[in-house]
């Protein structure tokens, strides 16, 4: 098996985050300071292809997107469950494989159910 990671192994990631954050903050401040500032009222309204702005964008949108988000949470968690199994599956052999097939069969049943319920149809 591979060596264990210690907290020190994660430290370089923090270094990279510091460098990246420094770059992002510098960029955002630089573009704020360098650009010209000639603001007019029309320039600061939302773009709506040239016509007068009607209402604003804080309005409800299709429920389908929420459905996709909820299905994602369900399936992604089940996918994450498979990671530890996938890494160790050779040691568990045939028995582990059959158990995982039963789990995936249950997953597929749910998947067939949402397709039959037309949860993923975009009309």
């Amino acid at each position: 098996m591979e060596a264990q990671s210690t907290p020190v192994s994660y430290l370089p990631i923090i270094f990279q985050m510091i460098v990246a954050l420094g770059f992002v903050v510098t960029t955002m401040i630089a573009t704020h300071l360098l650009g010209p500032k000639r603001k007019t009222k029309d320039k600061l309204t939302p773009f709506e292809s040239g016509i007068e702005v009607i209402g604003n964008a804080r309005q409800p949108f299709s429920i389908k997107y929420f459905l996709v988000a909820i299905l994602f949470v369900l399936f992604d968690i089940e996918v994450i469950f498979m990671y530890p199994w996938a890494v160790n599956f050779r040691e568990m052999g045939m028995e582990g494989l059959i158990e995982m097939f039963i789990f995936m069969g249950t997953l597929l049943l749910g998947f067939i159910y949402i397709i039959k319920k037309k949860a993923l149809d975009w009309e």
Binding site: Q16, K37, T45, P46, V68, V87, W122
Partner: protein
């Protein structure tokens, strides 16, 4: 922890950081040059020899453009959106093994910023965070086009993440490790590359990588002929630049991940048979890794000018009804194949 460790890692971080920025900047030129080549045009050629300075000119122009923050937008989130997109794009490269190790006298320098044993999960986490930048930026603009682009981006990215996870699981069954360094080391030579063991997995992975990077044919979040500019309609100056830059850096990182996971990373054919010193092998390996990365970046651009954009329902059907069942079938096949191989052909 010694000072030498900190200095070494910081130096490596800065070098890799500069390389990613340079590759991302020159990808914009490459994109325009390749587009021109595929369409029988010349492309940018005024700034410097063959347009060499075009990315610098573009970058400078971005900085000197007026910064517009619409009055109806949420100001803090409007700035946070592109910053987050750029930040998440820039931290992804931390776990990629760029090469083996270089030896200078007594010191051995690993060409990897952080060797953690859950490298794949880290990449996966960073990729998931990437959608927040677009989502926050698009929503904060308070523009209907931006909102449409943002919710499209969010649901597209999460849909393809499931299939991507499934394709990686089949890969993990072959490699038995989550550490990218370990995975790269296993693929020594040419015959051990994971793409030979996982061709279907690689196909699923590359399709999902296109979708996660919002590249054509999956560029619905910014489809310019229906949504003006999509999630970045209201952006200008370097905040727009942040979004565009993040897209190219993501392309670079996902090419590097694909090369490392499936195409042997820094490994090249006959690497151990030529009797070269370790440092030379490492340096040639780094060149090979970058050659593979540039090939994938070229492939991203080639596809962009070859395949037209999907319709939204086609995109969702491909993600949910084709790639997820294929991914599960791939896991089942891989499982049976490995168990049969372990049991009967020891």
């Amino acid at each position: 922890m010694e000072l030498a460790f900190v200095i070494e890692k910081f130096a490596l971080v800065i070098v890799i950081f500069m390389i990613s920025l340079g590759v991302a900047a020159y990808s914009t030129l490459a994109e325009r040059k390749i587009a021109a080549f595929l369409q029988g045009r010349v492309g940018p050629h005024r700034a410097g020899w063959g347009g060499m300075f075009q990315p610098l000119a573009d970058g400078a122009k971005m900085f000197f453009k007026e910064e517009i923050i619409p009055t109806q937008s949420n100001q803090f989130l409007f700035i946070a959106g592109p910053s987050l997109a750029l930040l998440t794009a820039l931290i992804g490269s931390a776990v990629i093994p760029w090469g083996q190790s270089l030896t200078f006298g007594d010191t051995v320098v690993q060409l990897q910023v952080a060797d953690i044993n859950v490298g794949i999960l880290y990449i996966f986490g960073v990729v998931s965070l990437g959608v927040y930048g677009i989502m926050i930026g698009g929503w904060a603009s308070n523009n209907k086009f931006s909102l449409m682009g943002a919710i499209r981006a969010a649901s597209q990215n999460i849909s393809y993440e499931i299939a991507m996870g499934l394709s990686i699981i089949a890969l993990l069954m072959v490699t038995q490790s989550l550490s990218l360094k370990e995975i790269a080391a296993q693929q020594s030579g040419f015959i051990n590359w994971n793409v030979w063991a996982q061709p279907l997995g690689f196909l699923i992975f590359i399709i999902c990588a296109f979708a996660e990077c919002n590249r054509t044919p999956f560029d619905l979040p910014e489809s310019e002929n229906e949504l003006v500019g999509g999630y970045h309609t209201e952006y200008s100056g370097m905040k727009l630049g942040g979004f565009l830059f993040a897209e190219y850096i993501n392309m670079f990182i996902s090419s590097a991940v694909m090369a490392t996971l499936y195409f042997g990373g820094y490994n090249f054919p006959f690497m151990n048979d030529l009797g070269l010193p370790q440092n030379i092998i490492t340096l040639i390996g780094v060149l090979f890794l970058f050659a593979k990365i540039f090939f994938f970046i070229f492939f991203f651009m080639w596809v962009r000018w070859t395949v037209p954009r999907f319709r939204y329902d086609q995109l969702m059907n491909l993600g949910w009804k084709v790639l997820i069942p294929l991914g599960i079938a791939n896991i089942v096949l891989t499982g049976i194949w490995i168990i049969v191989k372990d049991t009967y052909f020891k």
